[in-house]
Symmetry: C2
Subunit: 349 residues, 2 copies
Amino acid sequence: MSSIKDVARLAGVSVTTVSHVLNKTRSVLPATQERVLEAVQTLGYVPSAVARSLKINATHTIGMLVPDNSNPYFAELVRAVEDACFAAGYALLLCNTDNHAGRQQVYLDVLSQKRVDGLIVASTSDDALMSQHLAQTALPMVLIDRAIAGLERPCVQTDHVQGGMLATQHLMALGRKRIACVGGPQDLQSSEQRVQGWRQALQLVGLPSDLLVHGDFTANGGYVAMRRLLRDRAADRPTAVFACNDLMAMGALRAVHEAGLQVPRDVAVVGYDDIELAGYTQPALTTVAQPTQAMAEQALAWLLERIQAGRSAEPVAAATQLLVPALVTRESSRALARAAVPIAIGETL
Amino acid sequence: MSSIKDVARLAGVSVTTVSHVLNKTRSVLPATQERVLEAVQTLGYVPSAVARSLKINATHTIGMLVPDNSNPYFAELVRAVEDACFAAGYALLLCNTDNHAGRQQVYLDVLSQKRVDGLIVASTSDDALMSQHLAQTALPMVLIDRAIAGLERPCVQTDHVQGGMLATQHLMALGRKRIACVGGPQDLQSSEQRVQGWRQALQLVGLPSDLLVHGDFTANGGYVAMRRLLRDRAADRPTAVFACNDLMAMGALRAVHEAGLQVPRDVAVVGYDDIELAGYTQPALTTVAQPTQAMAEQALAWLLERIQAGRSAEPVAAATQLLVPALVTRESSRALARAAVPIAIGETL
DNA sequence: CTCCGGGGCGCAAACGTTTGCGCCTATGCA
DNA sequence: TGCATAGGCGCAAACGTTTGCGCCCCGGAG
């Protein structure tokens, strides 16, 4: 692999000049420029970003920590972040932590050594060890999607409480009274806030908020939780359910069907996240959408700001930006069943 | 940020010694070792992988090109590759190409400059320009999931023809005669091979293979394709359909439902890929599973091999490894409908 | 003719590591 | 006592860039 020196030699100029013509960083005689470019061509020279990084002390690379990018929600989040990075001229190192402190720590070390310019962290666990490790990391960092207990870092997320309320009020508007909630892991701020939104919405109008059961944010978790809900409360089973993410909502759909009930006639279902496939469940899933793209853009913007600040050693305050979620209504919460299905209202409205 | 020199100074040794104790690359007196480690601690020293990379001419980073990691199938593939990389001590740069030649080219340049050790490429398009750009890239490279026309590189993929046959023969075993196929983009080898498998299976037993329509590998594409199939062939509509990926299968499910038909009673459906959510559609989707993890491991193993070979300048043959797909049967192709639904056979068996 | 200014370019240090070579000291053996 | 040997360590070059400083030359003004 040829280096800048080879180019310089071939073009009959100094490496300084080569560097300057490639970076357009000072004026060079057109004739010289041409010679250099030609030399670059014939040698197939590709500048070394690693040497450059060493010199300028910046890698134009950022690291992204997620629990598991095969979870559709995180997949879409990663995608949005990657897009923002691409637009800003940054590359993205993808790191799955599996919510495992050890694995996260390894990645934090690697990223530090690789001198990434910053970190975007979407964690799903409030494990003390994990947040401690993050706190000990000197890299510029912004949290996305959910805050982390005990970690003071800028954070961009949606208003989970509001999202929970949105979902629940929508279900109430359908006339449903017994509205259950399938929460996520209990130690997760974002999940608990959604649950809190659900509870607040119910309490606001004096409805009971006793139909709460927790899942683990997986489809199977939602399935199991919903089965439990239907079994334990056979007498006064819920007529609607708000699942704290779409995966669990899909599991819930399945459980409802297996119980011989119909969605939305017998049980209306609302999810959270608006993953792409939410429009293709059977029936299509009503859900609370997060503005993924805006979140990613905001997070990256802040991160780059922090990186600049880091260079000038100015401290930046750790703020939190709350974006607003939006309800996307689909069939799983229609007031009436679809035409192909016998119309029936399965409860007192 | 302190460097190895600072550590050396504080510990009262040479940088050579510091380097050697950190890398355990030659024996050092325990007392000296301790002094060094202590200095590392108090300074919070983190070695620079970029300086190291410059020196040793290796970054321990690989790049992965995919069309779009928010597609669940690619999300899972990326995850599997990331896992393999992590285990091997490599980091992963994620690059979404969007099947856009320009974007791919930018990434190829960036990756070359960043001196990634190798590339794993999952492309979804046989665009001539894209494959030409790939061919012009000097980096060690292995193709995963699908071969690319005009590109001679090692490739690990599943036997798409066999997969297509598997799906189709399964449907025939259910007694279905009018088996349609929703193909993917026509310029895509992998998709065409699945279609070919479908055709072969039918021809083998003398069934007609005229029910073919093409989608674009998206859920909506599958939906549209299936609608067309049901509309155009109302008289002799298919009693089964093989969709060339799960996303399209999900769209097909929706179209079938909207037409007032039932799966699998009226139309049995089989997908391809076995994405995680395939188990949570309504009804759960029968599909052809690819051994994602094995593919990822094999691809990385080959890539690392190539990287080694590159160092020793030995040429390596461009072989193709065919892994075998496996049918995962679920409700969308059960012989009998589930208990909760009236049992009925919607066609002459 | 002298002087000044500016355009075009080169020298060499520096970024933070790794590593071949070789020095020094202590030890074992004759 | 002398010598070979080995263990412990340091010197300095090299990896491929960027960039401050400064040299040289040419043209215009006085």
